[in-house]
Amino acid sequence: MMGYENQGYEEAHLFASKEEMASLVLNEDPSPPLNGSQSFPYDPLSSSPPFVEIPTDDTDRLHSPSPNQVLPNHGSINSILEPPSYADAIFQSFDSDYVDSAEVNSQDQSLSALPSLSSLSSDYIKICISDPQREQEQSGSLVPGGSSYFTYLITTFTNFPEFNGTEFNVRRRFRDVVTLSDRISESYRGLFIPIRPDKSVVESQVMQQNEFVEQRRMALEKYLGRLAAHPVLRRSEELRVFLTVSGKMPLARTTDVASRMLDGAVRLPKQLLGGESAVGGAAEVSEVAQPAKGGRDLLRIFRELRQSVVNDWGATKPPFIEEDKEFLEKKEKLQDFEQQISNVSQQAESLVKNQHDMGETMGQLGLAFVKLTKFETEEAIYDSQRACAADMKNVATAAVKASRLYRELNAQTVKHLDKLHEYLGVMLAVNNAFSDRTSALLTVQTLLSELSSLNSRIEKLEAASSKIFGGDRSRIRKIEELRETVRVTEEAKNCAVREYERIKENNKNELERLDKERHDDFLSMLKGFVVNQAGYAEKIANTWETVAEETIGYAK
């Protein structure tokens, strides 16, 4: 995530030294001249309010009837500058005209608006995360001594019928979210599944900081929001159970590595010695629907690996290949897209940083001129000095205003260009979905190879056995066994093919959804970005035009 995202939201104060700017900040104006508008408690030292309806008529604000508000502890600097009215510094974000108002329906990703009554008629689900609490690990854990972790309150509002309720509250810890994510990945192969937030490597240390907890809370909220926005995943059983069943996490964690390794180690010799068919009994046939997992399916992994090598280096084409040209084209295009998005996102970060710097330096320049103005005014002996001081004051005021406008602009720009970062995450999900497809295909290919080799063994045995008059008992028995294996393998192959087709279908639907959403998202991003830039540029132009007018007497 871009580092400036937080800065834009959390620091709306000027960038010159805090003490200096504190004396400059002119926010104690108790009755800002905001006629007929929703007022918003504006504290420049806290986060900038993004949406405020304020009439944008500038001209009369600067010359408000109370020019010299001397604030108790800010002395004469404030008497130098007339307080810029809030109408100039904050105003209607240019977003709300152009972005579809935050719909709280199936397409919604924004979680800031409360569900309005009108949206209760259509499907909705909204998830909030709050109230982090520290809890102690129960005794009996492998880690000696007490370790602590955080839990978060997850509140869900929904009208999905399967939930049997409209509001739910549960407490979950991060590990539970990991479990949820893993289970969904297993069950919904082929879908573009949102990427869950990272685990932190140095978990216990970092946990001490409030910042980390808040960051994690936000990340979790975003993640669950994305799940809730996905047309299929939002109706998943896993999600529903996660959100509604209080107490211990109801989803089983995927078997931990240790027992899997043990299990695999036990099974492998049996597999290798042929005591067990590679795929096992009927109960295990459906396991082909799952990707080969390390530990349990060592043999399967070896076989699939061998198959992939044969695919890549073998003289002949594998028996079953990816033939969907449209898919291959799309895949290539998406790879290109991913690269470009990454590039643009990088440049966008750089752009945001430079806009930030511009605003900061402008503010410092303004401050320097404030000091100059004060100095010249105090020390004035000649009239020319007073005139100079008056000019400087205008420049200082404009520079400070422009600086604030740059900061506002930047906060909004960050919001818009953030879409690019989001799509980087989407591309990760896409790549995962394509991997699902590839590995499912590999499984099919492996099984087909198996079948073909089994069948050729049967043929050879039959040929050999036919030469012996009366038949060869041991060979015939062997042939029977092999036929049984073929039958099971055939079933497994069919299962694998069904899975592969299912994943293909998922891919196809998701690609369509991606195309549409991408188009809409980027369009609104561009609009928002452009409107923002234009709007703030116009404000900044007005600010400077005033000064140009005031100093026109000096023009050559």
Binding site: K333, D336, F337, Q340, I341, N343, V344, Q346, Q347, A348, S350, L351, K353, N354, Q355, D357, M358, T361, M362, Q364, L365, A368, F369, K371, L372, F375, E379, Y382, S384, Q385, A387, C388, D391, M392, N394, V395, A398, A402, F522, L523, L526, K527, V530, V531, Q533, A534, A537, E538, I540, A541, W544, E545, V547, A548, T551, I552, G553, Y554, A555, K556
Partner: protein, 403 residues
Amino acid sequence: MNALQRSGSDSMAQSPRSPSSQAPYITVSVTDPAKMGNGVQAYISYKVITKTNFPEYQGPEKIVIRRYSDFVWLRDRLFEKYKGIFIPPLPEKSTVEKFRFSAEFIEMRRQALDVFVNRIASHHELQQSEDLRTFLLADEQTMERSRSQETGIFKKKPTDLMQIFKDVQSKVSDVVLGKEKPVEESNPEYEKQKNYIFQLEDHLAEAQKHAYRLVKRHRELGQSLSDFGKAVKLLGSCEGNSLGKAFSELGAKSEMLSIKLQREAHHLLMNFEEPLKDYVRAVQSIKATIAERANAFRHHCELGETIKFKEIDLNKLRLTRSEKLAEAEREYEQLKADGEESKRKFETIVKLMNEEIARFQEQKTIDMGVAFHEFAKGQALLAKSIAEAWRSLLPKLEACSSS
């Protein structure tokens, strides 16, 4: 630099092309920087064009070739001869070898030199100076000869050298003897003025520092927009369809705005930052005059001391009716004359400084006003064209959503 011509002199007319029967005028332009020579010896020469109807100049227009050290010579001569007057400042020597011949540095220097000469030419006293005439009229060889007479590690004349040694001597002896010599004027108004000048330098320097940074920010933002535009264009070409086109257009606008930003950066540098820097230098020049005044005052005081001692000596000699009396009386008279002279010099400086300060403030107000106007104008134009460029994209974006 018409504003400078209008200020500080009442004998200025407007157009340099008016016939000589009009009020006297003189304008100078420093143009056409050209690199001369090779390697370490290389330098930049400038064309100095004088347009005037002053009789001493014999002709409406004169052109000479000058280099930076010629300007330095002129400044030094004026500083020596016109104590009390704020000699206009020169741009600094380049400390970084790499940039000595960069286009931007040359342009900045050329502009500063142009301002320098015009300020001298529009000062009612300085414009009469013979050294100025030499500078504006002499051929290059004469110029070089005059210049080389001044070179050498000790630019000061022998008498000044003696004075320096005497100063050091007296300072040391004062410290040794623990004497507190009041070598400074006790003039509260003047103290205030001095304080003002010193503080003004600090404030102006800070403003100039930020102005320079602002120039850099414009360049950086420009570069960033250019890179961003390129990346967005690539994205557009891979996206295809109407949205792809929208991306491409956005990228193109971004690149276009990058160029505007670079232009504004240059405009800001030459029309806002440089004038500020110029005034920092001007204030430093005033400080040099302050030092001169302090010297003159100290010199006058010391002479006064010397005269007192001489008087005591003289009376002693009178009482003893020594034959050394006559010589001592002659020396005494000489000292008294010197004392009168130093007093006159000091008072001239004081009088001139008072006039100069008023003139300085007036000129500063005008020059700063111009700089502010240019700054505001430039920023307003830039912001307007940015707004226009982005707004022009909106209809295309609207068209996309319907498709």
